[in-house]
């Protein structure tokens, strides 16, 4: 299985995902730049990613808390998500996301 993570330079990195890990942890484990300074407690918006529009509907629904926390992000788009709130399941094989400036810190 793979997820595809595009960095701020536009380079796409294929990453081997780990089942039941969050997307933030998967990206961090792959040594890609994701600040995630609150450690995954949905409190900081520094794991902000843009999800490929094709994949948006397949993701777990966004909770109110995540929407609130995204207020601390910049250039928030309709496809903005916090990677710490997306748990990887087999249905997400092939998921494509792009890192935000917030994640770069």
């Amino acid at each position: 299985m793979k997820v595809y993570v595009t960095d701020l330079k536009g380079v796409e990195h294929p990453v081997e995902p780990i089942l039941k890990w969050t997307l933030m942890e998967i990206i961090r484990d792959a040594d890609l730049p994701i600040k995630a300074e609150c450690g995954g407690s949905c409190a900081c918006a520094t794991c902000h990613v843009y999800v490929d529009p094709e994949w948006l509907a397949k993701l777990p629904a966004q909770e109110g808390e995540e929407r609130d926390t995204l207020d601390g992000g910049f250039d928030v788009q309709p496809n903005s998500r916090l990677a710490c709130q997306i748990v990887f399941t087999p249905e997400l094989n092939g998921l494509k996301v792009t890192l935000s400036k917030d994640a770069a810190g």
């Binding site: 300074e37 609150c38 450690g39 407690s41 409190a43 900081c44 918006a45 520094t46 929407r67 609130d68 207020d71 601390g72 992000g73 910049f74 250039d75 928030v76 309709p78 400036k101 917030d102 810190g105």
Partner: protein, 355 residues
């Protein structure tokens, strides 16, 4: 439980140096517990923290969130843990220097450290403990091209004096408590005040949101649901801001001051210039004393690194206990370190004020 206020707080600009046994940079859970371990071993501590309250990330990032891995506390919220630690260290009368950043460090001829904060507080002690976690909490800076040019001239991340903003055309950006509080406070002074937020929903206190809505309805505050795309101006003076709504075209609003309130982020800050060896913004330490490469400077909690390090509060507590053993040897070189249990030692119980 009720919140425990700091026992003493020093915020004046006194140029007189304060002498103590140990200076702790960072008043998060690990810095607070260090007060306890130092106190049991007869060392007094002063703490410096950039936040206006003790507790660090527990108090600032997740006060309401549950923590499940504190030994003996099956569930405790961030703020409850801070309150309990404050209660636990009360017998040792720690002194807090809050809303201040540890700015510079010099070594005195007698071997003591002199730490100066950005508020002018000067602390002197034979031992320095860095318990600064992920660094200092500082305002998030919007990644808008060229924003640095305007900073401190017409873009401000905090309000030091409200009068600075009298009769100005202000834009406040954000949807949290800081954005709403300053909207309510500055609206009466401003020539014009515009609040910009990315969505028509605000996570600030409901009472503030209601008051803001009333000001908007009374046309005393403008509200735009949009995000900031560009800053326009010259020589550091902002003249207008280009806003981008979710749907529709971008548009400009005139202004001469911008206050972005997007929350806080952590930056290592001046600690990086203290002359301590750093590796990837962390302070390498030994695992016997948790001392840095500079003798008498220790690092405990999330800011240190060593083989096997886990960034857990409980690890920080252990590190604080071991640090205090070596700190004792520096602070009381003529005394023999005595290992005792709080359960059985009348000496320790006396220090703790047990009746």
């Amino acid at each position: 439980m009720d919140s425990v206020t700091p026992l003493a707080s020093v915020t004046d600009m006194s140029s007189d140096a304060i002498s103590t046994d140990v200076i702790i940079v960072g008043a998060g859970p690990v810095g607070l517990f260090a007060v306890f371990e130092l106190g049991l071993n007869d060392m007094k501590a002063h703490l410096v923290d950039i936040l206006d309250k003790p507790g660090g990330q527990c108090a600032e990032l997740y006060p309401e969130k549950p923590i499940y891995d504190i030994p003996g506390l099956p569930i405790v919220t961030g703020q409850e843990l801070v309150d309990k630690l404050m209660e636990q260290i009360k017998p040792f009368h720690p002194v807090f220097h809050l809303s201040q950043m540890a700015e510079s460090l010099t070594k005195l001829p007698d071997g003591k450290w002199r730490l100066t904060t950005d508020a002018g507080t000067i602390l002197e002690a034979p031992v320095l403990v860095i318990a600064a976690g992920g660094g200092s909490f500082v305002p998030k800076k919007p990644p808008i091209k060229g924003i640095e040019e305007y900073e401190a001239k017409s873009v401000f991340y905090s309000v030091r004096r409200m009068e600075t903003f009298r009769d100005r055309e202000i834009v406040i950006a954000g949807g949290g408590d800081s954005a709403l509080d300053w909207t309510l406070n500055l609206a009466p002074l401003a020539r014009k005040l515009t609040l910009v937020h990315r969505r028509d929903e605000f996570r600030a206190a409901p009472d503030s949101v209601n008051k803001m809505r009333e000001l908007v309805a009374a046309k005393k505050v403008d509200l735009h649901i949009a995000q900031i795309a560009h800053l326009n101006g010259s020589g550091g003076q902002i003249e207008s801001i280009t806003l981008k709504p979710d749907a529709g075209d971008t548009f400009n609003i005139s202004c001469d001051a911008l206050l972005p309130f997007y929350g806080l982020t952590m930056k290592l800050g001046p600690v990086a210039n203290f002359g301590i060896n750093l590796h990837q913004n962390l302070i390498p330490v030994d695992t016997e004393k948790f001392e840095s490469d500079v003798k008498t400077i220790f690092a405990i909690g999330d800011i240190n690194s060593y083989p096997g390090k886990l960034k857990l509060i409980l690890s920080g507590f252990h590190e604080a206990a071991l640090m205090a053993q070596q700190a004792f040897r520096y602070v009381h070189p003529d005394r023999k370190l005595r290992f005792q249990y709080t359960t059985s030692s009348s000496d320790l119980q006396h220090k703790l004020g047990v009746q």
